[in-house]
């Protein structure tokens, strides 16, 4: 059982999602877990990989790898897998990683299962389907196996492992890997994120009472660093713009935290947010359907609770 984990980095930080996958790999009970780092000036990050469970870290450190493009990374990974015989490659999903995983699968003619949220020690992947209402168990018929995990599937936790063995890798790049070039970058602040990318969404429904009361949702969203969403009913009534509509005929989101204010939870809305990691809802009506699929349901008045909550959060964040 030899596992290779691709570690993505941004700036000088290893991505949490990738470290989570590394943590999971280490927990699968095998000592032969290696990580791969590809970039410009990334060697310094290698020892951190050790704390999260990598016994060995392959490093391809070169300015040529600085741009966040997938295909050169496929060349590096393919070389490592083929030379060292790794049977399983685990990758945390991201815009970059998705392209790497699929490119690698084609290069190695290897099976790729994606959008997994878990994997067992005997290599059965768990993949949510039908708006996360069911899991499909997927497997690989041959090695190498490639698994692409949904962002945030695993928490990163330092296993206290020691310094990893560092192996420098140089790979010959394919012609086609050298053609695309990054010629510019625009970095965005977190609050400019679109609703689909937000980690936190605070959504308002008719229970808010009046369009002005959307300020409750906006304040809470600001305190939590998230985006504001709305139900179809309030968008129809003109309380909030269509771009914020969440639901069957609006946007489908799956943030880490979804806070529903004054939303009853009709199925048209539910299918737009039911795969959120944690759902907290506040509604005056104890029988509102939303309580059936919330992790924390609060029967109460949003006008009383939300301002206090916003204040408490601001205080906690200091």
């Amino acid at each position: 059982m030899s596992i290779l984990v691709f570690l993505e980095h941004h700036g000088n930080e290893l991505q949490k999602g990738a470290l989570g996958v590394l943590t999971k790999a280490a927990s699968l009970g095998d000592s032969d877990v290696a990580a791969v780092l590809v970039g410009g000036g990334v060697k310094a990050l290698a020892s951190e990989a050790g704390t999260f469970g990598a016994g060995k870290v392959f490093v391809a450190d070169d300015d040529a790898f600085e741009p966040p493009l997938p295909q050169a990374r496929v060349d590096v990974l393919a070389k490592i897998v083929q030379e060292h015989g790794y049977e399983t490659v685990l990758i945390a999903n991201s815009v970059l990683a998705a392209d790497i995983a699929a490119g690698l699968a084609a290069r190695l003619d290897a099976g790729l299962n994606w959008d997994l949220v878990d994997i067992t020690g005997d290599w059965v992947g768990k993949r949510p389907a039908l708006q996360d209402s069911v899991y499909v168990d997927v497997g690989w018929k041959s090695t190498p196996r490639i698994a692409l995990f949904r962002a945030g599937s695993f928490d990163a936790s330092a296993t206290g492992g020691g310094e990893p063995e560092i192996v420098d890798v140089s790979a010959e790049l394919s012609d086609h890997s050298q053609q695309a070039r990054v010629t510019g970058q625009e970095l965005e602040e977190a609050s400019g994120k679109s609703i689909e990318d937000a980690d936190v969404i605070v959504a308002g429904g008719r229970g808010l009472g009046a369009p002005e009361n959307f300020s409750l949702a906006e304040e809470l969203a600001r305190a939590l660093g998230g985006a504001v969403g709305a139900t179809r009913a309030v968008v129809d009534a003109g309380w909030y713009p269509y771009a914020a509509q969440i639901g069957q005929t609006g946007k489908v989101v799956s943030p880490k935290l979804y806070v529903a204010l004054g939303i009853s939870g009709a199925i048209q809305h539910k299918v737009g947010m039911q795969s959120s990691n944690v759902i907290v809802s506040i509604n005056k009506d104890a029988n509102a359907p939303i309580f059936e699929f919330s992790d924390l349901g609060v029967v109460g008045d949003v006008h009383e609770i939300v301002p206090k909550l916003t204040e408490l959060i601001k205080q906690r964040k200091g």
């Binding site: 179809r232 009913a233 968008v235 129809d236 009534a237 269509y242 509509q245 069957q248 005929t249 609006g250 009709a266 199925i267 048209q268 359907p289």
Partner: protein, 561 residues
């Protein structure tokens, strides 16, 4: 303050939907015969035309590059089709098909009729109008899909997601239709990808739009063709269930949960039809001349399912579909004065070819479509100006079983205004006498003119449990409706009315389109509209509003109804 919905008419006039062609001549789309509606009537018309064109290729040539075109507002044929349905196969056979070759749920093996009370079901011998031996069980949506494939094989071009918005008329003659715009926002302004409608012109236009057909209504008014009696409607709401074991035969019920006293005017009943071994369809049909502002056919169906005998049928099952549609029930006297106008023919439910006592209309639709094709083709063959020669269609319908059957039951629906028991007795007498019992023509009143009353009816509706009984929004979801929200409101309705009228609308609509807004302090309230819920059943048009077609492709996506 009057509580008759008809005193608060919607902002609508037929004139708004009649126009001369406006596209430059070289941008107009020309077809030979244009059929509006890919339902049983429209598809039968297209299929028959295909057969005739094959026999007479020289006429086919004259019809141009696209000899037969069908515009359909749903995503595909079947998306907007809903019925029981137990179909009399005679019209399908006259179209040249063997009913055994058509996907169906088989012939009717057995049937029973029950009168229900809250806890019991008393079996009664099927009234003569409800004998279904020799008939076949279909999903009308699936039948539409199948007929659509046959029509295309015969050379017809089906244009789905296309609504027929306006009638093109010039010098008193119908030239075709103008299709609806796409990509408009709620304010009616074009968005980035907006696509305006087109003038679609044809030598003959056949309106086969089904119940509450938009252009059918416009044309009947424009050409002054409304029948002697006003049209009236029933609302049918039904569900499809996957069940451990379907009943063996078709079942009809009367009585509970509908109330029998004459003052309520609750005419109707339910049907339960097996669909193979492991599916069934259950539906409630109620006349829209009811008077109780709290009557909700959607919720009466939910109530029906709580009857111990019916809940038993559904135990261990799962609801997999839902839908609603009105049925014209005015019968013979509500048929239009003529079934044609210059350049135009009317077929099917759009003009009320439905036999309510037998709950049958599909075979009349198919037969009328077939006859319309023959008339149109004959006129085109003669090269005569179709304007003059389409009256052969009226003659053909008069001589067909459509006329005979509808005449036989001409007064039956009207008698039920006198209550279930009196009505039932009169109806039986009429059937036994094969229509010879003539009580003198009874006046039918338009559904929207019924005064309203209240009787706390809503108290008997079950609280939805999400397993056996459901709320309206869940039902709308189960119809496959995912209509784009940000489009113009297609429903015309008076927005400030007495509270009773508004409540009647709120309860009437099976899709929860209407909602009470703010109180006016003078007994009136405003009415809020959520048009994207609409499944285009047509009930609102019967009771004081007006349904027009939304953007093509909107509405339900029926597959098993």
């Amino acid at each position: 303050m009057s509580t008759r919905a008809s005193d608060y008419p919607p902002p609508f006039s037929a004139r708004e939907f009649v126009t001369e062609p406006t596209d430059p001549a070289d941008e107009r789309i020309e077809v030979g015969v244009l059929i509006v509606g890919a339902g049983p009537a429209g598809l039968a018309c297209a299929i028959r035309l295909g057969q005739l064109m094959e026999e007479h290729p020289e006429v086919a040539e004259r019809l141009g590059e696209v000899p037969v075109a069908i515009v359909e507002k749903g995503k595909q044929p079947g998306s907007h089709l809903l019925s029981g349905a137990v179909v009399n196969p005679r019209a399908l056979r006259r179209l040249g098909f063997r009913v055994e070759d058509i996907p169906s749920y088989g012939p009717v093996h057995d049937e029973s009729v029950y009168v229900l009370t809250r806890r019991n079901a008393v079996r009664i011998p099927p009234p003569p109008t409800m004998r279904n031996h020799g008939n076949w069980i279909f999903s009308l949506s699936q039948l539409g899909r199948w007929l659509g494939e046959r029509a295309e094989e015969g050379g017809a071009m089906i244009l789905p997601e296309t609504s027929a918005q306006k009638l093109l008329v010039s010098h008193g003659r119908v030239l075709g239709v103008r299709t609806g715009d796409k990509g408009m926002n709620r304010e009616g302004e074009p968005m980035g990808n907006a696509e305006p409608g087109s003038d679609l012109v044809a030598k003959v236009t056949v309106l086969a739009e089904g119940t509450q057909g938009h252009l059918t209504g416009v044309a009947l008014d424009t050409f002054g063709l409304r029948g002697e009696e006003p049209q009236v409607w029933e609302l049918g709401v039904k569900e499809i269930w996957k069940v451990p074991k379907a009943p063996r035969g078709v079942i009809h019920t009367m009585g509970w949960p509908l109330r029998t006293r004459a003052r309520y005017r609750e005419f109707g009943g339910s049907f339960i039809y097996p669909m193979g071994d492991d599916m069934l369809t259950i539906g409630m049909v109620v006349g829209l001349d009811y008077r109780d502002a709290e009557l909700s056919v959607h919720d009466v169906l939910q109530e029906l399912k709580t009857h111990p005998k019916i809940a038993k049928l559904l135990r261990g099952g799962e609801r997999i579909g839902w839908g609603a549609k009105t049925i014209p029930s005015g019968g013979f006297y509500a048929l239009p004065k003529r079934l044609h106008a210059p350049g135009l023919l009317f077929a099917g439910d759009g003009v009320g070819m439905v036999n309510i006592p037998r709950l049958k209309g599909v075979h009349y639709a198919i037969e009328s479509g077939r006859l319309a094709a023959e008339s149109a083709f004959a006129a085109l063959q003669r090269g005569a100006t179709p304007a003059a020669s389409l009256d052969t269609y009226d003659k053909a319908v008069r001589e067909s079983f459509i006329h005979d059957d509808l005449y036989e039951v001409r007064d039956m629906r009207q008698v039920f205004g006198r209550g279930f028991f009196v009505g039932g007795a009169l109806a039986s007498a009429m059937t036994i006498s094969k229509g010879r019992l003539d009580l003198g023509k009874m006046r039918a009143e338009p559904d929207a003119e019924q005064p309203l009353l209240r009787s706390d009816r809503a108290a008997s509706y079950p609280t939805p449990d999400g397993k056996l009984t459901f709320d309206k929004l869940s039902s709308v979801f189960a119809s496959g409706n995912k209509t784009r929200d940000d489009q113009p409101n297609h429903i015309r309705i008076e927005r400030r009315v007495p509270k009773d009228v508004a409540e009647m609308w709120v309860n009437l609509c099976p899709a929860q389109v209407y909602e009470i807004g703010v109180e006016g302090g003078d007994g009136t309230v405003t009415v809020n509209v959520a048009p994207s819920n609409c499944v285009q059943c047509g009930a609102i048009t019967a009771k004081g509003g007006r349904l027009t077609p939304p953007e093509g492709g909107s509405g339900p996506e029926y597959t098993l109804t």
